[in-house]
């Protein structure tokens, strides 16, 4: 009998390499695919050659596929547009949605793959005949936040072997086996390739960046910023203003080239509005539901009540006001370990209705 085939996205990093190893160990025929996503042939060469070495080490077929045009169209243009709207984009989620679990998933199935495997720290499990997306066992490394768009994908065709693993153990084991992968992966936005956001937006996005006013919520001009695109909500550093007490960025208005700052308490919101929400159809949301909502990767989920839900847009009221609710980032809803919905934050509102 023919072995079941798994297609593994190999980045050159240790997580995907070890995932491929685990699939081999559990009896799959494994195919490795490296995605060329951005930059010149030369700039991606280093990771690609690592991925190739990993495939050679594991003795699996390896293909390097050119997804540059698709990535440019779906991810880079999104990234630039998001900045132009005054948001702080999250390109990894968009890449997961369209590239990795869109085009690549199709490619994996076309190659006769039973499933597409990546090195994400999250779990996909079948419970009572339904497939669901869950947090990874390693809570510090859990990446389910970046994966909410998978709720509308065929989850049974996707597998994350590292969901049951702790990162240190993966590293230990990979070292023990001698996998020739990269052990230090950058947390930067990959396609910036070490460039600053200014250089990227001006060169790749054709965006003109110029200084503009910093104003308080009362409308008073208190300083000048070098360009709105270098800032995010809740940021304090880099403003170069002295007002006696700390001020933080509350809002970015690119069409007026303005940054609005506020005192610490003004940066908290108890209400959050999100759009383009994707929900697990097995866990129908309804008004009055209490959920755990995570508003950016590096914060813990917090309790909130669903106060509006129409199937695409959601409004949440947090039990405790949240710091720096940032348009452009995602809000992901959990029930215990399970991801039940996710969407894009449009705005945060203070309880009294002032936004």
């Amino acid at each position: 009998m023919r072995k079941k085939r798994a297609v593994v996205a190999l980045s050159g990093g240790v997580d995907s390499a070890f995932s491929a190893y685990l699939m081999l160990e559990s009896g799959y025929e494994v195919i490795g695919i490296f995605l060329k996503l951005f930059g010149s042939e030369y700039s991606g060469w280093f990771s690609e050659s690592r991925a190739r070495k990993v495939a050679e080490f594991l003795k699996i077929p390896f293909y390097s596929l050119n997804f540059r045009e698709k990535f440019e169209k779906k991810v880079i243009s999104y990234f630039i547009n998001s900045y132009l709207k005054g948001e702080t984009p999250n390109p990894c989620i968009v890449c997961n949605r369209y590239i990795k679990f869109g085009y690549l998933l199709n490619k994996a199935l076309e190659l006769g793959g039973e499933c597409l495997v990546t090195g994400h720290y999250a779990r996909i499990k079948e419970e009572n005949g339904e497939w669901g997306l869950f947090r990874g066992v390693d809570v510090d490394k859990d990446q389910s936040y970046f994966l909410f768009p998978l709720l509308e994908k065929p989850l049974s065709k996707i597998y994350f072997p590292l969901g049951e693993w702790r990162k240190e153990r993966v590293h230990q084991e990979a070292r023990r086996i001698g996998i020739p992968a990269l052990f230090h992966e950058s947390q930067e936005v990959c396609f910036l390739e070490g460039r600053g956001i200014k250089e990227f937006l001006t060169k790749e996005g054709g965006v003109s960046i110029c200084p503009g006013p910093i104003i308080t919520t009362e409308g008073k001009i208190v300083g000048e910023h070098p360009g709105v695109y270098f800032f995010t909500i809740g940021q304090r550093r880099g403003l170069k203003i002295k007002l006696g007490e700390p001020y933080y960025i509350k809002e970015i208005i690119p069409e007026e080239n303005k940054i609005v700052i506020g005192k610490r308490e003004e940066i908290y919101s108890s209400i959050l509005e999100a759009e383009e929400v994707i929900a697990d159809k097995n866990f129908p949301l309804k008004q009055g539901d209490i959920v755990e909502a995570k508003i950016r990767y590096l914060v813990k989920p917090e309790k909130a009540e669903v106060i509006y839900w129409d199937g695409r847009r959601i409004r949440l009221r947090f039990f405790h006001p949240q710091w720096a609710v940032t348009p452009g980032q995602a809000v992901v809803l959990y029930r215990e370990d399970r991801v039940i919905a996710g969407g894009w934050i449009r705005r945060g509102v203070r309880e009294n209705g002032n936004h």
Binding site: K36, P61, N66, R68, E69, N106, K107, E110, G112
Partner: protein, 387 residues
């Protein structure tokens, strides 16, 4: 796993006789062909013997044969070398839309330097029309470069007639014959060309060696300068083992090409017929008659060529898409586009190029493996639903 190689237009395995001929020149006969001593003479003799073999294959004179690093360098040397040398005579070049990038890019470079370039169209089979060439010629035209046979679809151009048109007007004619040599008759005297490029590894010789035929009397500027090698046209110590290998490959090709081509053509025709019988919605690209005997380019509607190639690879069969260099991009092959193949159809194109090592069983194996792959891919294709 069973492995079948059907990508001979990309490269060929070396003939064992070629390897055998080369080995002494890696070992005891290591001399520099320019040295005066016995070691050098040994190497020089071998280089000149190889030159004679290549000349014999092309019906050229040995002094008309220049060794280069391969087909790409030969094309660069002919095109840039001739245009740089003859700039004062005119600034217009004519080529076609379906050339290999080893011609298109040197021509583009010249375009940036101020030359004007006309890219001739082709018909739906990939053939250039003689009238189009006549119309394109101006008083400024100094060079025409048209490939002898296309690498992607195998269409053979009417080089003899095209060259005659240029010669009558005193315009130099270059042909990239990298895919033609060893597969069809290539006789520089009958063709009447001034320059002809060939490559070692496309005729079962080594990689990294090629030839530019330069008709006696045609003057060019060298691209690489240094010592007095290759009549001052290509400096650099001769790659003696590769030259010896190319000489041997040329000798074998001269003696065996006809019989082999016929055998391979039968296999190719069987493959073509088998695909047409077993798989619906396919389109054969290339000329039905004027086509290399080993080449079959097929568009499988509603599927991506890349997916077919990867699936075949997983079954041990090596083929390529019409556009090896643009794998995965939305850019379809420039050759198929010039032939008027719709972009979506062009995306589903696969090139089978057969060679000496292929046997009938290979064709049977492919015909067994391919139809279920196409069927499976079509089932997954949103374009196919409803068919």
């Amino acid at each position: 796993m069973r492995r079948v190689y059907m990508d001979h237009n990309a490269t060929c395995p070396m003939d064992e006789r070629v390897i055998e001929a080369m080995i002494p020149y890696f070992e005891e006969k290591f001399g520099n062909a320019s040295s005066l001593h016995s070691f050098g003479r040994e190497a020089r003799d071998a280089v000149e013997k190889a030159r004679e073999e290549v000349a014999r294959l092309l019906n050229a004179e040995p002094q008309e044969i220049i060794f280069t690093s391969g087909g790409t360098e030969s094309n660069n040397l002919a095109i840039k070398g001739y245009c740089w040398r003859n700039r004062e005579r005119g600034n217009h070049i004519i080529t076609t839309k379906i050339e290999h990038h080893a011609v298109l890019n040197p021509v583009k470079q010249l375009e940036k330097e101020g030359f004007r370039v006309t890219y001739l169209p082709v018909d739906k089979y990939g053939r250039v029309d003689l009238e189009d060439l006549k119309k394109a010629i101006t008083r400024e035209t100094i060079l025409v470069s048209i490939m002898m046979a296309n690498n992607e679809v195998g269409t053979i151009e009417p080089i003899r007639e095209l060259a005659k048109i240029s010669q009558e007007r005193g315009i130099a004619f270059h042909t990239d014959a990298v895919q033609a040599v060893g597969k069809i008759k290539v006789d520089v005297k009958k063709l009447g060309v001034d320059f002809l490029s060939l490559s070692g590894h496309k005729i079962y010789g080594p990689k990294g060696i090629g030839v530019l035929y330069i008709k006696k009397g045609r003057k060019i500027e060298p691209l690489i300068t240094g010592g007095h090698h290759e009549k001052n046209l290509r400096a650099g110590t001769e790659n003696v083992p590769a030259i010896v290998g190319l000489g041997e490959a040329a000798k074998i090709a001269r003696k065996e090409w006809k019989e082999e081509s016929e055998r391979i053509k039968n296999l190719r025709d069987k493959l073509e017929k088998g695909i047409l019988e077993r798989i619906p919605y396919v389109r054969i690209n290339g000329h039905p008659q004027y086509r290399l005997p080993n080449t079959l380019n097929v568009s499988f509607e509603y599927v991506e060529g890349e997916s077919i190639i990867l699936n075949l690879d997983l079954e041990g069969i090596a083929v390529s898409s019409g556009s090896a260099c643009t794998s995965g991009t939305l850019e379809p092959s420039h050759v198929l586009m010039a032939m008027g193949v719709p972009a979506v159809t062009a995306q589903g194109s696969v090139r089978f190029s057969l060679g000496k090592d292929n046997r009938e069983e290979d064709i049977d194996y492919l015909l067994e493996v391919l139809p279920p792959i196409i069927e499976r891919l079509r089932k997954m294709s949103p374009l196919y639903s409803g068919k």
